[in-house]
Symmetry: C2
Amino acid sequence: MSEPIIFYDLPSIENIGTWSPFTLRTRYSLNIKGIPYKTVWVEYPDIAPLSKQIGAAPTGTGADGAPLYTLPMIYDPNTKTAVSDSGKIARYLDKTYPDTHKLIPAELDVFTAAFEDAFWGAFHRPDLVPVMNLAVFDILPPRSQSYFRRAREATFGTTMEDLAPLGSEKRANHWAKVRNDASKVAAWYEADGNKDKTFVLGDNAGVTYADVIVTAFFGCFRKGLGEDSQEWKDIAAWDGGRWKRLLAAFEKYGAVDAGEELKLQL
Amino acid sequence: MSEPIIFYDLPSIENIGTWSPFTLRTRYSLNIKGIPYKTVWVEYPDIAPLSKQIGAAPTGTGADGAPLYTLPMIYDPNTKTAVSDSGKIARYLDKTYPDTHKLIPAELDVFTAAFEDAFWGAFHRPDLVPVMNLAVFDILPPRSQSYFRRAREATFGTTMEDLAPLGSEKRANHWAKVRNDASKVAAWYEADGNKDKTFVLGDNAGVTYADVIVTAFFGCFRKGLGEDSQEWKDIAAWDGGRWKRLLAAFEKYGAVDAGEELKLQL
């Protein structure tokens, strides 16, 4: 590998580092593998033009039928390849840089794909989406925030302010469901009766992409809500403290080196 | 191990062997491990009294709040232990008979628990449940059939005959959704671009309980619908024939040795 990979991430108003549960997966992936990279912060309105510029495929289809472009995305100058979707990026990095820590060993590929669906499937979307969206809304820079507001308010049919205000009964009800759903995930970790495992493979077999998925999810809440919020304190205490413990074990993989940032060029 | 395990399974009118997607898991588990066992066929109305008699825990709570007793269930005379729930049985057998083939290696325990949720979560229940229930209804012996009819008609609010008759548009719509959901599962197998894997760990690393879950699900449709039915022919062709291929690879693990049957004693 001669040149650093370019990693496109979503900025925050307070420069608190990566907050998206999806781009955080790629930052963890790159840091776990120790692959050199530079971060480019990309505001929401710039994602589609940038993707087209560097030749990244859309990751889905919007409600209007148009191609959907999302972050995370990387551009690897060594292979002249653009890749979006955090799972595809992890598989690309495993394959292209086989001497780095494997995030998805070949025999765990099916399990990992199923785990990703199982993890998001465990959370009832109508409860999760409002609280997660609100957690990140306040930390977005102005251009991203306007874009996010426009898109989300169209989806929800209500203003962000009325969606599920902090302290409201609506918010408390959503939160109770999210809490309950988290315990369904905790039950997977404890299916064999051992409540002490932090990582999906157990604590002696190494970190995999499944751990990345879980940690990035709770990491999003921590960044968005702030460590002083009551809701973060709730999460930290859920399920015997396992999510806080997991995030602590991942602390070393979350770093953004400010010296390694590039400006977006469109 | 001195004495064979007693395996409690659900009978069919045509003695076609195990058809339940849950008891089939345990038959596969026992046969894969090569653990000696004898089958006792238990009609639906006898499950609760039998469970209480041998001291098996309920596996859930019914709609009326009462404890729910289900098959599969085993009684191990060597340890004087009754276990119900196919996942708990697999873990019990792995632990109690450590020299047999491991269905859930320790490092795969979390992945396997998540896989089980992911697999059933992939199928939209309001479409799956009617077609799966109808597939098994016709092969039940009279006592089980009456019991099944009473329970299911109360749930569905319609007669079994009107639920989704073969040839109806309703049935075709359910079936189209089940077909679509199966392809979501197929996508896990092919996430790394390799379309040829039959087993979850790939084809060189051995069979695990995750394979048992998938095979028992499609095996239920094969037994219930019959291999000559159009719907079974559909499944056999879905997703490049992967489900038919999987069942063929499991053929040797599905055997019921008629000489090893015991009569239920209540």
